[in-house]
């Protein structure tokens, strides 16, 4: 009687675990990407060639948040 109840229970626990990992991983990844664009991009390295629009737009924030800037 108890075994058929226990099996779906285990499944229902393992699935949210993976969804949780994906959610946490994506949140961390997107946050780091955002930090990169605010803090570093178009200074030392640039994903969009020699364009400086992001750098110049957030220029004051970059200085004030402690990121290196020229």
């Amino acid at each position: 009687m108890t075994t058929p109840v226990a099996q779906p229970r285990q499944r229902s626990i393992s699935l949210p675990l993976t969804a949780r990992r994906v959610a946490l991983g994506l949140t961390a990844l997107l946050s780091l990407l955002l930090l990169y664009f605010i803090g570093v991009d178009q200074g030392a390295t640039s994903l969009f060639g020699s364009d400086t629009h992001i750098h110049e737009f957030v220029h004051d924030a970059r200085h004030f948040l402690g990121f290196p800037c020229h």
Binding site: P16, A19, R20, A23, L24, T27, A28, L30, S31, L32, L34, L35, I38, G39, V40, G43, A44, T45, T52, H53, E56, F57, V58, H59, D60, A61, R62, H63, F64, L65, G66, F67, P68, C69, H70
Partner: protein, 297 residues
């Protein structure tokens, strides 16, 4: 379930970034303008010196992409709000991982501890080695090296903090929580201290040493004429201090907002499902009890 935390983490990060922006707009922007005025004045003095020496004045025009007005009002706001959003995202990820491992810590206490650790590890320790600089400080040739050094310092600081926490938790069962915390603090300080000693100062980068001589920082020194008289002063110390001080304060505002607001929201989230579960548990417990009582009765 996690999403309810993630949304709240991102929300409080955004709110913290916006509050930090309000502070920056009022207190930091006048200093940034002072620094830019200093840079412009120095540039003119340098041109006059070059002209006197018979050097051709290089038409060094920056060609503004965004006006100062846009940078001062909109750019810094967007930048700081998005920074807050990103920090909120990283914060909530760490919060969810740690809260699962340490379910006994009360949500608002855990939020405060993690935000404090984030402020110290992510900002304050890197700041101690490479403090925030206003415009006019920072040579264009070294931007690549400086970015790499700063990111390295942040990475080392965050990893050292994580290691110190692991050591502290491992020791807590043996020497007690207080002594373990002290040892963990020492481990963190030693690790970041070694990193600070090994990483070079901005001023000691090869390009800087070759062009400006032996200075630890890139802060502009007084501009002198060939006969040695100072024609333009060094960067004003008070402007530099206040800019850096306000930078620390704005980060405090951001992290404190995350700590307090997220702590409050997490307390509510932690209570909400418990109530529901409590209710079903009670009703489930009631039934056999009543059944048993009727059976015995």
């Amino acid at each position: 379930m996690e999403f309810r935390y993630i949304y709240r983490g991102l929300g409080v990060g955004l709110l913290g970034g916006l509050l930090a922006f309000v502070f920056a707009r009022i207190f930091a922007e006048p200093l940034i303008q002072d620094a830019i005025d200093y840079e412009d004045g120095r540039h003119e003095a340098q041109e006059a010196l070059d002209a006197a020496a018979g050097l051709a004045a290089g038409a060094h025009d920056h060609g503004e992409v965004f006006s100062r007005s846009v940078q001062r009002n909109l750019g810094i706001g967007v930048g700081m709000a998005l920074f807050g959003l990103a920090v909120g995202g990283l914060f909530v990820v760490v919060y969810l991982i740690v809260s699962r491992r340490c379910p006994n810590i009360r949500p608002r206490v855990l939020a405060a501890l993690l935000a404090g650790a984030g402020f110290v590890g992510f900002y304050l320790v890197p700041f101690a080695k490479y403090p925030a600089n206003p415009p006019a400080i920072g040579h264009e040739e070294t931007i690549g090296a400086r970015s790499a050094l700063y990111v390295t310092m942040v990475g080392v600081s965050v990893v050292a903090l994580g290691l110190a926490v692991v050591v502290g938790r491992w020791l807590a069962g043996r020497v007690g929580a207080w002594n373990a915390s002290l040892v963990a603090g020492v481990v963190f300080l030693v690790l970041v201290g070694v990193a600070m000693a090994l990483l070079p100062a901005y001023g000691h980068l090869g390009a800087n040493r070759a062009e400006f001589g032996d200075f630890a920082t890139e802060t502009p020194q007084p501009l002198t004429a060939p006969n040695g008289t100072i024609v333009y002063p060094g960067f004003p110390a008070d402007v530099l201090f206040r800019f850096r001080f306000y930078s620390v304060v704005s980060q405090l505002i951001l992290w404190a907002t995350i700590a307090l607001a997220f702590g409050q929201l997490a307390e509510r989230l932690a209570v909400a499902p418990a109530r529901r579960q409590g209710r079903t548990a009670v009703s489930a417990a009631d039934r056999p009890a009543t059944a048993a009582s009727t059976a015995t009765g």
